[in-house]
């Protein structure tokens, strides 16, 4: 039954996940999805990477969602990531001024994605990070991971998650510096160098 009786908690059970399939490309991605940073913001960082399968081949049919705090560590509560145009029915894109903290980018034919966002500030007990959710054809349940940024070794060493991850795999959660405010973060779904994925309880 798919009419849930909320007066009987034992019937409130989760809806199962399914793969996003191959044909979401005309539905979910939107123009400027990865241009999360307001135009000209001094705390802008550029992220790029590949999504790779168990044989090291890039995925041309994956997308990632990024979600992070602003540079002060505050959670954005601003809508407008995918502003629509009521006249044409098309997308207007972001307004270039407000920071929603969330973006969606699909991999290109080479399995490569890029995004521009703001450097996240620290919150709670954690070192600064961006939350990442990965979707792809073939992936029956999306995968969560995190992008930590290199540089502040003390803060990374004190992070409760990084402290629990095996030394050998810890690096998969930390982006590689590729220039001023530019980072690379590859996501390996399986095999050698497999990215650390997270579950929340």
């Amino acid at each position: 039954m798919t009419k849930i009786d909320t007066s009987r908690p034992e019937t409130v059970l989760p809806t199962p996940s399914h793969t996003v399939g191959p044909f979401y490309g005309h539905a979910l991605p939107f123009p400027g999805g990865g241009d999360i940073a307001p135009l000209g913001h001094p705390d802008t960082i550029v992220l790029q990477g590949y999504v790779l399968d168990g044989e090291g081949d890039p995925l041309p049919d994956a997308f990632v969602e990024l979600w992070g705090a602003d540079p002060d560590g505050d959670v954005p509560r601003v809508d407008g990531s995918m502003r629509r145009d009521p006249a044409s029915g098309g997308f207007l894109g972001r307004n270039g001024v407000e920071f929603t903290g969330w973006g969606r980018v699909q991999t290109d034919a080479n399995g490569h994605w890029t995004a521009r966002t703001l450097r996240p500030g620290a919150r709670g007990l954690s070192a600064p990070y961006l939350s990442v959710c990965v979707f792809a054809r073939g992936l029956l349940v999306h995968l969560f991971t995190r992008i930590y940024l290199p540089g502040d070794e003390a803060s990374l060493a004190a992070d409760p998650l990084l402290a629990r991850v095996d030394e050998a795999r810890r690096g998969t959660l930390i982006a590689e510096e590729r220039g001023p405010a530019a980072y690379r973060f590859d996501i390996r779904l399986q095999g050698e160098g497999e990215t650390v994925f997270l579950e929340f309880q």
Partner: protein, 257 residues
């Protein structure tokens, strides 16, 4: 060697037997598919082999994953939830209305959140460039919609009954008719992408994607209910489908953003 439906049927039966054995051995009910489900071949190289690292969200209420991105009236247009009105002409097919509530694991409505859908047209073809199925495109149907849930957590779409379609994983592989859903909760941990099916579809036993949910009751939760009260006189057939988001959320943060 050519992969046949019979080969896939045997694999589906083996996966089901393995799940029943796990249950009999005292393992918990599996509400979600396993990412490693070989009858769906695309999963083979795309699932992690290492177990996920578990994060106990009660230890740090400041995790950004306990919050969700916000969406608002700017992110949708008034007719984005009516897939039959996006072109100058009427799409071909049986009009349907699909309605349901977006709930958390406590049965509380999730208000003002984004629900996105996409689907094939009535002939079983997606308006996607890489779609190879030789069925007609409908110039009056794109098959993409979005809406925000209302104050009681309800979403509502008007669309066209999608057709089943072949997908070439194996000889004579057909997907049961479905609508793809992408939804957000009050926490990013609740993010969900899934597919809604229609009652009594004869293709269910043959489809490794719906069968990846090996638990019978969980699989039933992917199937909408025909609801005559949602059928619109002289216009459409009505289906009801509630969505319950898994994943922990912070009960102390404000609701109804």
């Amino acid at each position: 060697m050519t992969l046949t439906q019979h080969d896939i049927d045997l694999e589906i039966a083996a996966e089901r037997a393995a799940y029943e054995k796990r249950l009999a051995d005292g393992a918990p009910v599996e509400h979600q598919p396993r990412r490693d489900y070989a009858p769906y071949r695309s999963s083979v190289l795309r699932h992690p082999k290492q177990p996920p690292v578990s994060i106990d969200v009660s230890k740090d209420p400041e995790l950004v994953e306990l919050h969700s991105p916000a969406f608002g009236e700017r992110d949708i247009t008034e007719i984005d939830n009516d897939l039959t009105r996006q072109h100058t002409g009427e799409p071909i097919g049986e009009r349907i209305t699909v309605e349901g509530r977006l709930l958390d694991r406590d049965g509380r409505p999730i208000r003002g959140q984004l629900v996105e859908i996409w689907q094939a047209n009535s002939a079983g073809r997606y308006a996607h460039q890489r779609e190879q199925h030789d069925a007609p495109l409908d110039p009056n149907f794109t098959g993409v919609g979005r809406t925000l849930t209302d104050d009681s957590g309800f979403y509502r779409f008007t669309t066209i009954q999608p057709g089943p379609y072949p997908w070439r994983q194996h000889v004579n592989a057909w997907r049961p008719a479905h609508i793809h859903f992408s939804v957000f909760g009050t926490a990013f941990t609740q993010r969900l992408v899934t597919q809604m099916y229609f009652p009594s579809d004869p293709l269910f036993p043959y489809d490794p994607i719906i069968q990846s949910v090996t638990d019978d009751a969980a699989r039933q939760r992917l199937v909408a209910t025909y609801d005559h009260s949602l059928s619109v006189p002289e216009f459409s057939m009505g289906y009801h489908w509630d969505i319950v988001l898994d994943g922990p959320h912070a009960t102390w943060i404000e609701e109804g953003r």
